[in-house]
């Protein structure tokens, strides 16, 4: 099963660059320009990993993380930001972000690894859940 990534950034060029990159790496990629748009996408499609900026008009990244933590806690979140403050980093950490990566993303492999880690953890859980279902079905028989 392929992994669905949602990229949230108000800068179109960055958004598209990341979409291209992760599409090239065989992921399914969606995008949104701010938190509100992101939530609309989350409501319509199954998303496994959200990569989000912090400073965005409308709804910012921290608020989006909060929403995800409340409504869809299984989604893995990764924050990318050029606006690095301790306060931001701490609130993202508290809201369950798995990685906090600084722009200008001089090395995309850091982001790739974060996605890969999320993917691995997701796959581990899926396998566990499958095993559990298998256990249940054998028990029924």
């Amino acid at each position: 099963m392929s992994v669905n990534i949602l990229i949230v950034d108000d800068e179109e060029e960055i958004r598209e660059m990341l979409v291209r990159h992760f599409t090239f790496l065989d992921y399914n990629v969606e995008m949104a320009g701010n938190g509100v748009e992101a939530i609309q996408v989350l409501n319509q499609k199954r998303i496994d990993v959200v990569i989000t900026d912090i400073l965005m008009p409308g709804m910012n990244g921290v608020e989006l993380l909060e929403h995800i933590q409340n409504d869809a806690p299984m989604i893995h979140t990764i924050v990318i930001t050029g606006y690095v403050t301790l306060e931001n980093a701490l609130s993202c950490m508290r809201l369950g972000a798995e990685s906090f990566i600084f722009k200008p993303l001089e090395d995309l492999s850091e982001l790739e690894e974060a996605v890969k880690k999320a993917e691995d953890s997701m796959k581990t859980w899926q396998r566990k859940l499958r095993e559990l279902r298998g256990l249940k079905s054998t028990r029924k028989e």
Binding site: I14, L18, F24, G82, K103, P104, L105, E106
Partner: protein, 403 residues
Amino acid sequence: MKVLVAEDDRVSRRVLEKFLIKWGYEVVCCKDGFSAWETLSDQDFHMVVLDWMMPGLSGVEICRKIRHSKKLNNLYILLLSGRTQKRDMIAGLEAGADDYVIKPFDPLELNSRLKVGRRLVESGQLLKEKNRELEKYASEMEALAEERASMLVHADRLASLGILTAGVAHEINNPSTFISGNVQTLERCWPTIEKALQKEMALGGRGQKKIQIIIDEFPNMLNGIRNGVKRIAKIVNGLKTFSRMDKNVMETVDVNECIEQALLLCSNRLKHRIVVEQYLQGELPTTAGDIQKLEQVLVNLFVNAADAMDECVLLNQGILTIVTKVESSWIIIEVKDNGPGIPEDKMARIWQPFFTTKDVGKGTGLGLAISQGIIHDHGGKISVSKRDNGGTKFTIKLPTREG
């Protein structure tokens, strides 16, 4: 108190001279108007006693000349005259005399009148002195105000520059993110593209030469873009450090240790080319500060010194001298090089952000501006001076922790 007596009558002159000397005045006598005027122009007097009727210039004429002269204007004039008419007295006073005594004079009266003059002269002098003091004070205050104003303007400029640079840094970060990202994706795509191009090459045909160039040069182009982005990222980082207003973490810092650490950090830059001489005072008192930021300042100074000495490395061996010592409650760090030195006209500008003497792309012009900010944050001072034997000396003063 110096008095000029101008009197053509010999007897009167002698009498006046005798009395005035008796009353404690320093006296110079003249026997006619011209010599009186000449003497007045040559020497400094406080008071003058003039006879009205004299050969050459009359007393009244001298009065007018005195009042018209800028230099003598303050002189106290006592006019002596045999004329008893009220209108004569008025004419004398109108001509500029301060007092009018009728001849033959009563010595006691003359004494009292001269005393009046003396008091006036003295209070005039006092006033003048006070005025001079005030003027001096005023000009000092003015200079101070000017200095403060220029400092404020500078601080204000730096503050707005800080805000501006933070903004610029953030704005530049976005485009460099997508340049950097895209080029990295392109790098991933390249093997696929290269393979396709190789296939095309194998087919032969006319475009071969161009395809070969692309195959050879494409990685270089990608590299060029990446290096460009890296450099931009470096500048942006410098700008962020420069504009950062956050409080420093103040811990106990051993300056000598800090120097050692900084030398280690730039050992690559220094080794082979430059000899480092250290004269570090043992058991140096500690200072309170952010060790990383202080290291940053030192590394910056060391690298600057090395860059400066590279320019004349053919002439003599570059020697970086580092000295630490204590002066009352200050820790002094001196960083000296024997490079070509900073030209006089550039000395004042080296602390300005973006001012650099290095080649384009080599320096951002932020190093010293940042260093100065850091040292100020530590309650210290950083200054630069020329060394007598050529080269440059940077001096950092940091308060001791106890001090």
